[in-house]
Symmetry: C2
Subunit: 144 residues, 2 copies
DNA sequence: GTGAATGCAAAACCTTTGCAACTGG
DNA sequence: CCAGTTGCAAAGGTTTTGCATTCAC
């Protein structure tokens, strides 16, 4: 579980910009997210993080995730008030929530689609972001 | 706080279809939602409901809201794991979450936009629904 | 050295549940 | 009647907080 150099530099820069410190835990939590991009919950990140950093605490995982979200390196996605799921994919994309398994999938969006969606906003609404979230089922023959 | 006849019939039909009973509380909770379409939380619905039905309980409000959502008469919307907000608008629309006030607004969508958004789904993903949720700020001059 | 971040346990928040009493069909 | 629903209080799942300790700069 090693954070790639590129990601490490991006993290350090983002932390610096926000006046925050680089810590082993923050690096490690980001590494966990990047290693397996299956939108884990905080609890799942904690379980994975512990395997190579035994002393990390659940509260710290929550803190680190919030920090990463605040720095714009990670997105938090939530369905029906279940646990948050964390996504380090910085490209514009949507999410699909499988009601059978609870899993969350990234859905690529055509270039410019979100911009055209944002055009529906009436005057006076200034969007910082828009989340497009599908919920449904994956076809049985594709379920792994 | 009176449930309009049309809504009452729709409710009774939806409950019947689902094998559920009509109760004063279910009617009242729907009436509260329709009276002021500002996407109240369960707690807010409870406060409003109490003013004309003193004996209703918070648990019953939660139950009724879940029933209404289950019947398709109401949508639950959620931002950043805060309380759910409840919306009786059955037309296709998006939501806008104001980060300053926490308020939720309905955003009309052009006919067919959601269908075209659903077309981005790869094979194997079968969407039952899609939620388009903006977050941002309302322009100051419009803030009420 | 010093303020920020961590780790722990306890608290907080929102929602659901168990169960006795009630009620709609 | 009697299964479904309510109302209450207690429990549940997820996240946040207070505070002493440790660490990054």
């Amino acid at each position: 579980m090693e954070l790639p150099e590129k990601a490490k530099q991006r993290l350090h820069k983002a932390l610096e910009v926000n006046g925050l410190r680089s810590t082993r835990q923050r690096e490690h939590v980001l590494a966990v997210l990047l290693a397996q991009r299956d939108h884990p919950t905080a609890e799942e990140v904690y379980e994975r993080a512990k395997s190579s950093m035994a002393s990390i605490s659940l509260a710290t995982v929550y803190n680190c995730l919030e920090t990463l979200v605040g720095c714009g390196l990670v997105r938090a996605v939530n369905f029906e008030r279940g646990s948050n799921h964390y996504c380090p994919n910085l490209a514009e994309h949507a999410h699909f929530h499988c009601k059978d398994t609870g899993r969350v999938y990234d859905i690529d969006l055509p270039e410019g689609l979100l911009d055209s969606v944002k055009k529906v906003l009436p005057e006076g609404f200034q969007a910082e972001g828009v989340e497009v979230a599908f919920q449904g089922h994956r076809a049985k023959e594709i379920l792994s």
